[in-house]
């Protein structure tokens, strides 16, 4: 264990050293090979040439890492989705045919659809409400901090926390899970939430909503504060009440931010894996695409072709958001 700490520290030192050596070394070498002093025609040409090369020295490692870990895998995964379990022989559209007809995949798709419908909407709405309310009170910042806190907790940690909330004992026993204790306290019957088809899906979604609301709140709170005072004052003069001002004056002004929050959470939902994997591993009709992808990668009989196909479908679902993001970013960058 101690050796591991030493190895870790040594590798950090070596890694950082190598990176710095690369950046210093390559720049030094460039200046050496293309001397830029003297002021003659040769120096001018060298300055221009060095100026053209230097950006690529700065970008080199990043382009390499992005290419290796993100761009190449996208292409390789597309290719794999047309190959068999071991990734060796071409099988055409067989994997996609399987995807369309498989009952488990259909169940996972349906659940994913539910998640997409519920989680972004609920998180954004709760985040907006929390942002609006906490901006009005003295202890708002403490409240914000506490609602934001789950953001720092891992999905697995959050799953343990909520599994305890959902804990179920037989009706004749003392309930130690908060939810069942409240329900029996009110005279109801305890419920095994995690196995309660199909409502258990919502029990899992609550965990992600619990985590993401803080994110939505932080972004929307900043947007609400950016609304020009005059628009609100004008509405007040026209006799609008608090709710009217909120929904008719403030919310329309932050539509673009709401859209950003919504899409960001949508992407998180599409990738959601840990919660389902740790809580049910897809049992009791709670499977989702990301868990199916993992299932075909490692569990049961691994099938890289099918796993890759599921990954491609997740990617296809993300593409519209990706295009929209790029267009927005370009529009924003034109300002610079």
């Amino acid at each position: 264990m101690i050796q591991q700490i030493y190895t870790g520290l040594a590798t950090i030192a070596v890694g950082v050293g190598l990176a710095l050596l690369y950046f210093y070394g390559s720049n030094w070498l460039l200046d050496r090979l293309l001397p830029q002093g003297g002021g003659d025609a040769r120096a001018t040409r060298n300055i221009r040439l060095a100026g053209a090369i230097r950006p690529w020295l700065f970008l080199g490692p990043a382009i390499f890492a992005l290419g290796l870990y993100l761009v190449y895998p996208v292409i390789a995964t597309i290719q794999l989705s047309f190959f068999d379990a071991g990734g060796t022989s071409y099988v055409g559209l067989a994997n996609y045919d399987w995807f369309v007809h498989d009952a488990n995949i259909r169940a996972a798709l349906l659940n994913n659809f539910l998640w997409l419908l519920v989680v972004p909407a609920a998180s954004t709405f709760l985040g907006l409400v929390t942002a609006a309310l906490t901006d009005r009170i003295a202890w708002g910042n403490i409240a914000k901090s506490l609602v934001f806190m789950p953001m720092a907790i891992s999905f697995v940690g959050a799953t343990v926390i909520w599994k305890f909330v959902y804990d179920y004992r037989g009706a004749d026993q003392t309930q130690i899970g908060l939810l069942n204790a409240i329900i029996t306290g009110l005279g109801g019957q305890p419920e095994a939430w995690i196995a309660w088809i199909p409502w258990n899906n919502f029990a899992l979604m609550v965990i992600l909503i619990w985590i993401q609301t803080g994110f939505a709140m932080v972004i929307l709170s900043a947007a609400l504060r950016g609304i020009p005072e005059e628009t609100i004052e004008a509405a007040v003069l026209d006799g609008a009440n608090g709710l009217q001002i909120f929904f008719r004056i403030m919310v329309p002004q932050i539509w673009s931010t709401i859209a950003v929050v919504w899409t960001t959470i949508t992407i998180t939902v599409l990738k959601v894996f840990d919660i389902v994997y740790a809580m049910t591993n897809g049992q009791w009709d709670t499977d989702v695409l990301a868990n199916q992808m993992y299932f075909w990668m490692f569990q049961g009989t691994p099938d890289f072709g099918r796993s890759a196909t599921v990954a491609i479908v997740i990617m296809i679902l993300v593409i519209p958001i990706m295009v929209w993001n790029i267009r927005n970013a370009r529009r924003e960058m034109e300002g610079h």
Partner: protein, 405 residues
Amino acid sequence: MFSIGGRKSPLVWAVHLSVLLLVLLWTLPTAGLFITSFRTADQIAVSGWWTAMSSSERNQVTRLPDGPGTQAADGSYTLSGTVLPHGGRVVAWGKTSLKPKAFTPGETVDMGDGVRMVVQANGSYSMTGPKALDGGGRIFFTAATPPSFTLANYSKVLFANGMLRAFINSFTVAIPSTIIPILVAAYAAFALAWMKFPGRALLLAVVVGLLVVPLQLSLIPILRLYNNLHDLTLVPDKSLIGQLIDLSGLGSHSDDGTMVGLSSKSYLGIWLAHTGFGLPLAIYLLRNYMVGIPRDIIESSRVDGATDFQIFRKIILPLSFPALASFAIFQFLWTWNDLLVATVFLSHQTDSLVMTAKLKDLMGSRGGEWEILAASAFVSISVPLLVFFGLQRYLVRGLLAGSVK
């Protein structure tokens, strides 16, 4: 806005109440598990965590010692002792399981055959009879135990369940996975923000696009790549290169043990993977921040003859500290909390599991043992929570800058 029009108080109360409700909803689940992590398995099993602060009542049964008991000067026999060797308070007691709460503490009860028995509130009892006593009978009682908390769960998970090892493994994964992308991204972001070259706009668009690529897509190709790398670098473990690989800690042996090659499941592999996955956000965040640095500062140092490299090191890097900090926090939280990448790229042997993987394991193998799960969960989320409460300012700033507007 809710205070408009002079009708302030009822609405303000409603706001306070709803925020309070929200905060309770958002903190109670965590608080519950936190309190549970300090309770013993017995306490957890019989009562909810919300009762932990009050004393708990529990029905118990004890067996009296065998007779005949000690004989006093007057010829009577007495059996005495305590039903509560571990402390607590007797609330009620009884002689049959049907009526376990028949008597109050201190009450003298006729047990038949002239035998009398008293159980005191502190648990001590005495049974007195004219002849030798049979003993061995059972006493039913309800005991109240005062609230008590223990650190035993934590020492158990840390030292007996391997959580300490997982803790160190998580740090080993998270720290280099945070530092390496910062270094790489800072230079790239500077080039994208302040250097002119053909293809800059396209590169930026690619970075924004990669921001949302699900990392699920990368898993299989990279795993295959790592496996191939292992096979390609296989050399006899007696050879010089083999020994070097072995020494560096990056190697793993082939199945028959005679060959050694770069390990397909190593820390180096996961650091680089995390670097790749974190780069788009790092570049995007840092580039947006660097672009905001006033042009005058950079132009004037260019005029003074500073090279791009010097400008980067002496001006841009120090000024970009807030953005660097924001990204560092993000990346640290994300790599510490990650389960998927660690499951795919690290070995599944017990001593190389990271916290999240360990926790997932415990959920399966120790599903019902909440004292173990609760303490383990809090060991694993303690670090992110500290980072969160200590550096929340940077986290918020990073979130605001990182979402594509």
